[in-house]
Subunit: 477 residues, 2 copies
């Protein structure tokens, strides 16, 4: 395709995107397709016929879009927000158009240095000190994987460079809570710690935050038993209920054992843009690394996940390779982001943040974040005011966890099984309808429903409409 | 930003991209900036002022583009080609515009199923059997990391789910060659095997391919010494010289020890689109996984790295997490790509391949690949015909490794040090000029220069011009 053909097709595509985004509210939230349905729209055999852009856009519209769950829809309250602000989409388009290659500083100095610049801007905007150095990863899962690898190597004085983890005699332990994101256990397992060495620390029964005394006891007991307390993963805003582990106390306890501390603030990092919420990660300066995702609530399109590290030398010693074909005269004077994680090559992700910050600005993001928190607080209040409804966890930010308790039959309360069935029934009824989407989730061994407010287009009236849908859905049919 | 503001800005951006791509040949190949120069174009403090798209495009042009090494430039012969075909750029733009979220099938059925479709098309196009199942990763480094983790877990019967790698008593060994990409050792180290257990198998002194007898001997010796031969990484097209390890013999030898075999065909996978080159990975069907990068020579813009696995159940058992908030009624009937690798979330990468295949078509790619191989062969022949020049390795595809031997002074041949200095001098002279770019690289402990043909815009006359630049550059100044 020539640049002129691209120009013509690109204009059509931009119009298609603008049309699609401006009509998102008229579409179902949850894709109304069955497993295999999208696949069946395509030939089994690799295509041999070419099409023009008009036909391809028609295919996209007819064969693909019905299978897209519309996370940009204002009635999407599932998982966490996955906003794709159109200013950041433009940055992503610029990145694609430039077609840069990030495998070394020399392969694209701008890619490296603009990434340094925007990571530093974001650091300032959430109030982290200049002891932190940032990079853009694809996801917080990958950052957690890096954190676990660094923790393992720090605990063993870089055993990877010798006989490997098998040669380590003292068992290495990782501490987190049952409320931590699934990527934490996954990363610890993949890093080779083993399931037996992932210690689940008790949480406060009301707040679901890690109990620091329980952590202190567990770490001390392990140390007394000749085990190495290697790492603690503190969740700043858990996925389940947006609980906040007490980072300050955790880093203090971890320091007694020289254990590595990773702070997973994937969702709640956005709230740290607001000074009035920064107490929620008090003590973060004492941690070793922090991950948070502008591609969630903040709205810089996926994949834009910030990873901050204090001891970059340690990180680089674990991650670095320096093959001769990538050596250059600039070595030693520049950042080599390939030595910050697993992939060698990277896209020019920094443009997404640059465009977002320059075209929309951080003030508009902060206004939106405050709006979302206010909407969640409003929703919490109306739910809590209804006797049949329960708010299951503190609402510190924008996620409200709820259960509906059906009226008692014959005077006896619903059993756990009945309540679970009821919860899944009403939430799936709404989800399947396409009118709104929420995430059923398990808390205290029982299903509840997470209502996660924060899509860019979600205004108060959308939350009000959701509440109406919920009240209807729980009525006996 | 509203969809209408996006529409207006998007049209300007598309024009900027078309202009940029159509004038790439007038720019230097290597970015003509010093370390820190791009960074110094930006304020240290996070921006508070907003700009419009015109001003931002001006900033992009003035402050960023001079720092971009133009890998789309027809005189770029460095690393491997990193083509970004404009048809695939359109697919990437569509993906950004849709703003889909890939964390489960339900979060975007189309994202999952179109990925299945295009991975299967690509499988057919390189002649792999339907025993293989594919996914799109960011890079071949990540695929290699996954391969090493799976190999480790298979060798230990999933020890991650018990006491972790520390509890394994028998040392686990990984076999590869010194010619393998740096990501192989990195992945083995990060997977915890340890440097001592990465066994470098001797290569043929002429072809730089792994010697199967040496592999057989090493694996047997280890097994006899109560070590576990866990994995072999076979390179199909090494980074240094595009050497081809004998996959067929390797899988046979590995099978004797039930060792896992990963095939790294990052660059050479593209050649497998041509049936006449498939003998170069004969035996691949016996391997356990294969990685190759359409984002290199084939030209589907970064990040588009194919990962094929035969035993997907094993992969999923190692990688899967099933948190309650991601459970849905479709579980068990659908592919959950989160269980194929480390990141939970993924972008709608499949659209890049879909657009590339539908708008440009695979036949045009194949024509281009044949053109590049012919250009490399021509270049090999002219270099070999000059007495002072040496072609250092077989040219099986499109990378030509060369050295220039300066005329003897006082009748004595240049020392290794002198030859190294001479090589780095002439190649850096050309690279710094911006007229062309090649990768100096070390082979047999001595510097040589890799000339990697294959940029989309590179025609015969560009290779001829490169040859002229090289002949001038080696003249004493």
């Amino acid at each position: 395709m020539t640049p002129e053909e691209f120009r013509a097709a690109g204009h059509q595509l931009i119009d298609w995107i603008a049309d699609t985004r401006s009509t998102v509210e008229s579409k179902p939230v949850l894709a109304q397709v069955q497993p295999g349905e999208v696949r069946s729209n395509f030939e089994v055999n690799a295509p041999t016929e070419l099409v023009g852009i008009e036909d391809l856009l028609t295919e996209l519209e007819n064969n693909i879009m019905p299978g897209v769950t519309n996370v940009q829809h204002p009635m999407h309250f599932g998982w966490f927000p996955s906003n794709a602000s159109l200013s950041s989409v433009l940055g992503d388009i610029a990145s694609s158009g430039i077609g840069s290659l990030g495998i070394s500083w020399e392969s694209s100095p701008a890619l490296t240095e603009v990434e340094e610049v925007v990571c530093d801007w974001m650091r300032q905007l959430v109030g982290l000190s200049d002891a932190w150095h940032g990079a853009l990863n694809d996801t917080a899962s990958s950052s957690c994987m890096v954190a676990m690898l660094v923790a393992r190597e720090r605990a063993t004085n870089l055993v990877q460079n010798r006989a490997g983890t098998q040669s380590v005699e003292t068992p290495m332990r990782v501490y987190t809570t049952a409320q931590a994101h699934s990527s934490v256990a996954k990363a610890a397992l993949l890093a080779g710690f083993g399931w037996d060495n992932i210690v689940s620390i008790e949480t406060d029964p009301r707040t679901y935050a890690m109990l620091p005394e329980a952590l202190a006891n567990a770490m001390q007991a392990d140390a007394d038993n000749n085990m190495t307390p290697a790492a603690v993963v503190a969740s700043v805003g858990t996925t389940g209920t947006t609980a906040f582990d007490p980072v300050g106390e955790i880093v203090e306890i971890a320091a007694r054992h020289n254990a590595f501390v990773h702070v997973d603030a994937a969702q709640a990092g956005t709230a740290m843009l607001l000074p009035e919420y920064r107490h929620l990660w008090n003590g973060v300066e004492g941690a070793d690394c922090v991950a948070w995702n502008p591609h969630k609530w903040m709205g810089t399109i996926l994949d834009t996940s910030l990873f901050y590290m204090r001891d970059v030398d340690l990180l680089n010693r674990i991650m670095s390779t320096n093959p001769s074909y990538l050596m250059s005269a600039a070595d030693g004077q520049v950042t080599q982001y390939r030595d910050w994680g697993i992939p060698l090559g990277r896209r020019f992700r920094a443009l997404k943040l640059l465009f977002h910050l320059r075209l929309d600005g951080i003030e508009s993001v902060k206004d939106r974040v405050r709006r979302d928190i206010a909407n969640a607080k409003w929703f919490e209040a109306v739910v809590a005011s209804e006797p049949d409804w329960e708010v299951c966890a503190p609402v510190d930010l924008q996620t409200v966890c709820v259960r509906h308790h059906p009226p008692q039959l014959n005077g006896s309360p619903a059993s756990t099984e009945q309540l679970n069935a009821h919860t899944l029934e009403w939430v799936r009824k709404i989800n399947r309808s396409g009118d709104a989407y929420m995430s059923p989730s398990i808390l205290d061994d029982q299903w509840m429903v997470r209502v996660s407010v924060g899509v860019e287009l979600t205004e108060r009236h959308h939350v009000e409409r959701l509440w109406g849908l919920m009240q209807s859905a729980v009525q006996p049919s």
